[in-house]
Amino acid sequence: MKAMIIDDEPPARRELRRLLADFPWVEIVGEAGNIEQAAGLVESLTPDLLFLDIQMPGGSGFDLLTRLEHVPAVIFTTAHDEHAVRAFEVDALDYLLKPIDPARLAEALTRVKSAHAERTRRPDDVLEQIFVRDGTRCWFVPLREVRLLSSEGNYIRLSWGKTQPLLGRALAALERRLDPNRFFRANRQQIINLDFIENVELGLSGRLHAQLRDGPEVEISRRQARLFKLKMSI
């Protein structure tokens, strides 16, 4: 597994490197001291796992994640950021308090490893999850759980469970990275998750109306309706 260490303090990076020597299956492919540097390296080295400090100069660890297109698994490392750590709602990620307890590190790595193995092998350019921050709350959102993506100017509104977080990206850019077997462009503003379609009704002048589970009814434009029928072979 390829891992990257992102921390602004060199001794902290060295210490983590030393601790990780006990886990030969973790290969450290790179290090960064600030998020600017980190953003570029993550995109080029495509690590599977990030060890990410929260407080860093020029932007926090959270800021880095919102900038990344492809977010790998993350283990946060922090000395004392109770508030930041508490902001998390997801169990999908882990955090370690510095100085890092080797036993806690082993636990966290075991969790990452099993999650990594579970994940079906996919082509690298398909997004599995995205990191979203809305106000003070942060989530790792698994894309397969998102039923609808709606364009709102330069932002995307995700319909995910009971929440509707806003993502700071354009819909067209994200569309290229979505799994084409799961997501379908319904109209100029919206992309729907095919797994969430409950039923489809014929509308006026060749349009279709798709009813999403727990979600709104989405209109499929005339042009897209033809593609939709082909795809679903109806």
Binding site: D8, P11, A12, Q37, P57, H80, K98
Partner: protein, 367 residues
């Protein structure tokens, strides 16, 4: 303070007041009716009517009295002052009721006429009639004095209890504030990062790790032993800041450069304890730690016109991220300076330059 501050408490005490009023006057009236009918054999309908009317007026007047004493804050008076007022008020309220009572049948309940006939048989009617009126008035006046004694006892007890509660709340708030202060002085973020650095140095450079532990111990001891209202010499403060900066430069490595320019004659000037430390911590936290390339932290001092002038300079991030609670340290430092030196000491943060922040501290040489 007689009006309880909480609405719920207020309605509760209001309810209690009416319960006491109605029970008190009710029992008083019933006992008098029963006495008048059984002992004196008076006609019960007339007696009941008269006594109920008198008691109703009595209750009304006592309620008006309560309004009056609340408006004029009688509860804040000393005991002798209060006693005098209670006596006067008793007679003022007792007079109309006493006269009214003497004009009714129920005057017989405390009739002085037989007594006067027995002990002063020759008393002229011009004297015996006024004496009977005065007797009725005194009776009512005593009743009102008793009423006020009960009322002020109840109010006093309530105030005593709420004062005790307020005091225990104050003690609790004070303890919490002290705890928070201690926690902020300990600076957990620095402490755990320093420990992490030490852990790393143990493998990298054992002798540096040893020195780091000593410096960390010095810093902690100084923090824990210093009190909020104490003074320290500039030299003492500079020593602890040196230890602190040494630890921080192990952590930040080449991102932190330090320059100190302090003349020997500044060493003995007294400044508030931990003040220089606070300013340097701020320079690290909001300066060096926020700038990816780090920079120069400069501490300089001069002694000029019997005034110690200290400057702490640090690089600024291009767009400062305002963390919650920023500025609290600076405000606390100013408050302490004012307490210890009045207006002769000043502390300013100069943010006029885009890339450099400068904190300026002026403290008089003699306190």
């Amino acid at each position: 303070m007689h009006d309880a501050s909480l609405p719920a408490q207020h309605t509760r005490s209001q309810q209690l007041y009416w319960i006491y009023q109605s029970v008190g006057w009710g029992v008083y009236t019933v006992v008098r009716i029963v006495g008048a009918v059984t002992v004196f054999g008076l006609p019960w309908i007339k007696v009941t009517l008269e006594l109920v009317t008198l008691s109703a007026v009595g209750l009304g007047l006592s309620h008006a009295l309560r309004h009056y004493v609340q408006r004029h804050h009688w509860n804040a008076l000393s005991i002798p002052q209060l006693t005098k007022r209670i006596a006067v008020a008793g007679f003022i309220l007792g007079a109309p009721l006493g006269i009214a009572t003497q004009l009714t049948d129920v005057a017989a309940l405390q009739d002085l006429a037989p007594v006067l006939r027995q002990y002063a048989p020759g008393l002229s009617i011009y004297l015996s009639v006024p004496i009977q009126y005065v007797h009725q008035i005194v009776n009512w006046a005593l009743l009102y004095m008793l009423w006020m004694a009960i009322y002020f006892t109840a109010v006093g007890l309530r105030e005593y209890r709420s004062a005790r509660l307020t005091q225990s709340e104050l003690v609790r708030a004070l303890q919490l504030a002290e705890l928070r202060l201690l926690k902020s002085q300990l600076n957990p973020h620095f402490l755990f990062n320093a420990l992490n650095t030490v852990r790393s140095l143990i493998a990298d450079n054992p002798s540096r790790a040893q020195s780091a532990v000593t410096r960390l111990a010095n810093t902690l001891r100084y923090t824990l032993s210093s009190r909020h209202d104490e003074l320290a010499t500039f030299a003492q403060e500079l020593d602890i800041v040196t230890d602190y900066l040494e630890l921080e430069s192990m952590r930040f490595e080449d991102r932190l450069r330090i320059e100190k320019n302090v003349p020997a004659n500044a060493a003995s000037v007294h400044i508030p304890v931990m003040l220089l430390q606070t300013l340097v911590e701020n320079a690290i936290k909001h300066g060096i730690a926020e700038v990816p390339s780090g920079g120069l932290l400069r501490i300089s001092a001069v002694l000029e016109n019997q005034m110690l002038k200290v400057e702490i300079e640090n690089p600024r991030p291009p767009a400062p991220i305002l963390a919650a609670g920023e500025g609290v340290g600076l405000r606390n430092a100013r408050d302490r300076l004012r307490l210890l030196f009045g207006t002769r000491a000043t502390l300013d943060l100069d943010l006029s330059k885009p890339t450099v922040a400068t904190a300026r501290l002026h403290v008089p040489q003699q306190r």
